[in-house]
């Protein structure tokens, strides 16, 4: 069964450093999403991406965040200058259409020191 994959599984970084989180969505999916989950809290929407542009973003997704689909398979989330409060689990998700179910990857646990 096809699945969303994410790398790395864990990332530790110093405050102020840039990080790039990578995702490979399911191959025939066209809609891509990033969510985050701070430890013990609910999953929160960050951004959605379709047709090589951002469709929607939350207030969490400020100028420090960017997303990119650099090739036909990868979907990345970049945090330019990490803050302590960026420490969270980051999930990538994809769906074939807007109407269909979003499938989540296993997540990247980001720890900012």
């Amino acid at each position: 069964e096809p699945e969303v994959t994410q790398t790395p599984s864990h990332q530790v970084t110093q405050m102020g450093q840039e990080v790039i989180l990578r995702c490979v969505p399911i191959s025939n999916h066209l809609y891509f999403y990033w969510y985050r989950q701070i430890l013990g809290q609910k999953v929160e929407f960050l951004v959605s991406f379709y047709n090589n542009e951002i469709s929607e973003k939350s207030e969490i997704f400020d100028d420090q965040f960017s997303v990119e689909r650099p090739d036909g398979s990868n979907f990345t989330l970049k945090i330019r200058s990490t803050k302590l409060e960026d420490s969270a689990m980051y999930f990538c998700a994809s769906s074939r259409t807007e109407q269909e179910t979003q499938y989540f990857g296993p997540g990247t646990r980001l720890l900012v020191l």
Partner: protein, 113 residues
């Protein structure tokens, strides 16, 4: 208005019992209500979903009951098993572009052997 309220925060059930998790929403633009199951260190996995034109949907031991007038929906797990021990999130998606998932706060279910 974008919130989905979920209760209880935690639930302990004996093996073979019925687990019931409740959610409520305000936004009448929501038109798709999935439930996700999350094991520690893993991404949310779709369990079952319902649209508001249906009052109940059953898949195996899992049933969603939906009350459109009350804007409430619930997950029932029949014959609960220790392997069902996980965190359960209700979610909702609204009409419009991008269809971001709005998650409830989660219920940590423990099924005792």
């Amino acid at each position: 208005q974008q919130q989905v309220k979920q209760s209880p925060q935690s639930l302990i059930v004996q093996k073979g019992g019925i687990s019931i998790i409740n959610c409520a929403y305000e936004n009448t633009a929501f038109d798709y209500f999935p439930w996700y199951q999350q094991f520690p260190g893993k991404g949310p996995a779709l369990l079952i979903a319902i649209r508001p034109d249906v009052s109940e949907k059953k898949e195996g031991r899992f049933t969603i009951s939906f009350n459109k007038s009350a804007k409430q929906f619930s997950l029932h797990i029949m014959d609960s098993q220790p392997g069902d021990s996980a965190t359960y999130f209700c979610a909702a998606i609204g009409r419009g572009s991008a269809r971001q998932l709005t998650f409830g706060s989660g219920t940590q279910l423990t099924v005792l052997p």
